[in-house]
């Protein structure tokens, strides 16, 4: 099997597959950890029971999602060595320390306080427990800081030199960490994580409001989530626009692929809304376009010239169709999220936030939108920087391990089978937890308190759902 295959293509497929599965969990847990910290803070300040109920409700879901994030993340940290050993050798001196700092400042902080956060409320008391929750939330954000710095350096490398062994080495750590695309990517990703979580929380709230508009927990979570979507969606669109301008400056070929601009335009480039990019003929077929709009967006001038892929050597072209379409999916979802936020704002204004089934159905439908947008965004940026792993300096084909295709192919199949089996089960368990509304006296994930046997526990609840089928 895999005899005639290209090992590098298989290694790329493996990275894309394991990474796509992984990113879904941090995208959710970054936002959810912060949300849990907010809920616990509100409970400590107001002493309202609804907040601790919501906290415990989402904590159980967090525990399942976080566990999946951890195990899929360990895979990522070893994949650099197993499948991309040349990359690891050459970039280890610059990427390695950033990841080591991620482990030291973020992973340990999260892991060290997670146990107390999940099981320790009665052991340490509410104040110290809140500190633990806060540490986990801060840990997820620090983690985002380092890993996005590492990724951004690969996209827009600065502050480095090359030594005699062909390794990248640091010349200026500050410039290396705060490389040109890092601030934009960090803001864009953290906002994306917050939006993703708010859409999930909003969808769960809306789901229960569709059945009963008077439930306190769903009302509070729906309202909080819609505020978040309303406020963050426009900021995210602005941040995305700024990120795009930054990409145009440092990785123009990526923007050309996103826009489908095979040809240069001397006086104003059109915005291609849809079409089919054909790399062989170097043109977008069946294009629907708005004249000069792309120049207006990217250069803030209708007649500004815009270079196309015809100015880039063919061997440096990214795969245009994937970049082009994943970008459109992300942007489209972004505007839908904005629409949901505005709709909720109007209904809130009219005092109908909890009484509008149409809004609730829309919110339920948009539940997974954040995940899809995050995946589409990452596919855009990672496909668009091909054929390089370190942009302009190290090609993807020169980054792989000296492995034969059968080895990489077999492990790819193993990952696919295991991930689908394990993470499908996890998602089902999360959906089951979400299918129950939060109720008074909601328990956290404390494993074996007598309450578990009393029948209001998640395991018993899940069993009831199973029995009802």
């Amino acid at each position: 099997m895999f005899e005639g295959w290209d090992a590098v293509v298989l290694a790329r497929a493996q990275f894309a597959f394991t990474m796509s599965f992984h990113i879904v969990f941090p995208a959710f847990s970054i936002g959810l950890a912060s949300y849990l910290a907010v809920l616990e803070a509100l409970w400590l300040i107001t002493k309202r029971e609804v907040f601790i109920n919501l906290f415990n409700y989402w904590l159980k879901i967090f525990a399942v999602a976080f566990g999946m994030g951890v195990v899929s993340g360990i895979v990522m940290s070893y994949q650099f060595g197993t499948n991309w050993s040349s990359f690891a050798d050459k970039t280890g001196p610059v990427i390695g320390p950033l990841m080591a700092y991620e482990v030291l400042t973020a992973f340990f902080l999260e892991a060290g306080f997670l146990g107390v956060m999940l099981f320790g409320l009665e052991r340490v008391g509410p104040r110290l427990h809140f500190v633990a929750t806060l540490m986990v939330a801060i840990g997820t954000l620090i983690s985002a800081f380092w890993i996005l710095s590492a990724n951004s350096w690969m996209q827009t490398p600065t502050g480095h030199a090359v030594n005699a062994d062909g390794q990248f080495v640091a010349a200026d750590w500050f410039k290396l960490i705060f490389n040109p695309s890092f601030p934009y990517r960090l803001v864009h990703m953290v906002l994306a994580a917050y939006l993703t979580t708010s859409l999930v929380v909003g969808a769960v709230g809306a789901w229960h409001l569709l059945r009963d508009q008077h439930l306190a927990g769903p009302r509070v979570m729906f309202s909080m989530a819609m505020w978040m979507a309303t406020l963050v969606a426009p900021i995210q669109i602005l941040a995305g626009d700024q990120h795009g301008l930054n990409t145009l400056e440092h990785q123009p070929a990526k923007v050309m692929a996103m826009e489908g601009h095979f040809q240069s335009h001397k006086d104003g480039a059109p915005l291609i809304l849809f079409g089919w990019p054909d790399m062989r003929d170097a043109k977008v077929k069946y294009a629907i376009e708005v004249p000069k709009l792309s120049s207006l967006i990217l250069k803030h001038s209708l007649d500004a010239p815009l270079a196309g892929l015809d100015t880039v050597p063919r061997e440096n072209w990214p795969p245009v169709p994937i970049t082009f379409w994943s970008f459109r999916i992300m942007v489209g979802l972004g505007f839908l999220i904005l629409g949901l936020g505005l709709f909720s704002l109007v209904m809130r204004w009219r005092g109908m936030l909890y009484q509008t089934p149409l809004l609730h159905r829309f919110a339920v439908l948009m539940g997974p939108a954040g995940f899809i947008a995050v995946l589409a965004g990452w596919i855009t940026t990672e496909t668009g920087r091909q054929p390089f792993t370190v942009y302009g300096l190290l090609r993807t084909v020169d980054s792989a391990s000296p492995l034969a295709a059968p080895a990489v192919g077999s492990s790819l199949i193993a990952f696919i089978i295991v991930y689908f089996a394990v993470f499908t089960a996890g998602v089902i368990y999360i959906l089951r937890l979400m299918a129950q509304p939060p109720h008074p006296g909601e328990q956290g994930p404390t494993k074996d308190l007598p309450a578990r046997a009393a029948g209001i526990t998640p395991a018993a609840g899940a069993a009831a759902v199973e029995a009802a089928r």
């Binding site: 951890v70 895979v75 050798d89 340990f108 997670l114 146990g115 320790g120 052991r123 750590w173 990952f415």
Partner: protein
């Protein structure tokens, strides 16, 4: 002049050892899981590590990530060389990691996740032990790349080290249970300790006898004069710790067996260090050849010296919060 490569070799060795100490016992619990078929026992066993397992596994990420950062060449050579055991370990860790939460979320499929916990733990441990053996027996390197085949890791010696580690982790798990549980569960754990300790001593003996035959370097390191003055205390200390361990098991002292088993691990680990030093890829690449440039190692050293004590501090606090025996139906006491 301070030798950064040596400092970093000790830091990585320390991270890997802390990993072995911490994840060793919770992988060991997974290995022992099939021997405790009752649900109440399994719930208690799970609850003894549920609050800390994630932190335990983070040391593995530090070992791997730290190695890529401090010795990128070694990481780049070892990972492809150990490709299959590494992938098997990662998949094993996936199964056992998710089982901690998943088994509480279903009744119908609970046995499946218990099996995933046991199977994943066993596979991950076996893979780690095999990887250790494969490193010890030497790795074929050409230039800056691994140059062997993708089955090179599988030899009678690596299988021996794999089995030895399974026994070792199981002993750690059994002594942990002795410390953290009570009643009938603890009594059965005591019983297992005896069997596993004897098996572990056989395994240490077998690996110790086989290692010098792998390479002349190992023989000289251990038996040549004057090295033997420095190496002889290791087996003597192993004998002393074993005697203490036997006494602790005989006296039914609940806490000592776990820490004495850790001492056995530490001695075996020191023995490995003596065999391998100064190579990071035995017989091919030394720590100086693999070392990242000084400014990378210094940059991280600052973080390590501030953060690792802090990490050890709050990790100790988390263990302290969940101290004491775990009883069925009552969580922690």
């Amino acid at each position: 002049m301070i030798d950064l490569a040596i400092i970093w070799a000790f830091i990585i060795a320390f991270a890997v050892f802390v990993y072995v100490v911490m994840d060793g016992f919770d992988l060991g619990l997974g290995i022992l899981f099939p021997l405790f078929p009752q649900k109440t026992d399994r719930d208690v066993i799970m609850n003894t590590v549920a609050p800390v397992w994630d932190g335990n596994e983070t040391w593995l990420v530090l070992g791997g990530g730290g190695m890529m950062a401090a010795f990128p060449l070694a990481y780049a050579v070892l990972m492809p060389a150990l490709y299959t055991p590494m992938i098997a370990m990662l998949l094993g860790l996936v199964f056992r990691g998710v089982a901690f939460e998943f088994r509480w979320r279903t009744q119908k499929a609970r046995n499946k996740w218990d099996l995933a916990f046991a199977g994943g733990s066993l596979v991950a441990t076996l893979a780690q032990g095999i990887a250790l053996g494969a490193i010890l027996q030497g790795i074929h390197v050409d230039g800056r790349h691994y140059a062997g085949g993708w089955w090179d890791w599988l030899t009678p010696f690596s299988v021996l080290t794999g089995i030895a580690l399974v026994i070792g982790y199981a002993l750690l798990g059994a002594t942990w249970l002795v410390m953290k549980t009570e009643g009938e569960l603890r009594d059965r754990a005591y019983h297992l300790c005896w069997i596993l300790l004897i098996a572990m001593l056989c395994a240490i003996g077998a690996v110790s006898i086989a290692t010098p035959f792998l390479a002349v370097q190992y023989t000289q390191r251990w038996f040549a004069w004057p090295n033997i003055i420095l190496t002889a205390p290791v087996p003597i200390a192993v004998a002393a710790v074993t005697a203490l361990l036997l006494r602790a098991l005989g006296n039914k002292n609940d806490h000592q067996p776990f820490f004495l088993t850790l001492a056995l691990f530490a001695l075996s680990y020191a023995g490995l260090g003596i065999s391998v030093y100064p190579y990071i890829v035995p017989q091919s690449i030394t720590i100086w050849q693999a070392a990242a440039p000084a400014n990378s190692q210094i940059f991280m050293l600052v973080g390590v010296s501030i953060l690792v004590p802090l990490i050890l501090g709050y990790t100790a606090w988390a263990y302290w919060v969940f101290r004491g025996k775990v009883r069925p139906g009552h969580g922690y006491h």
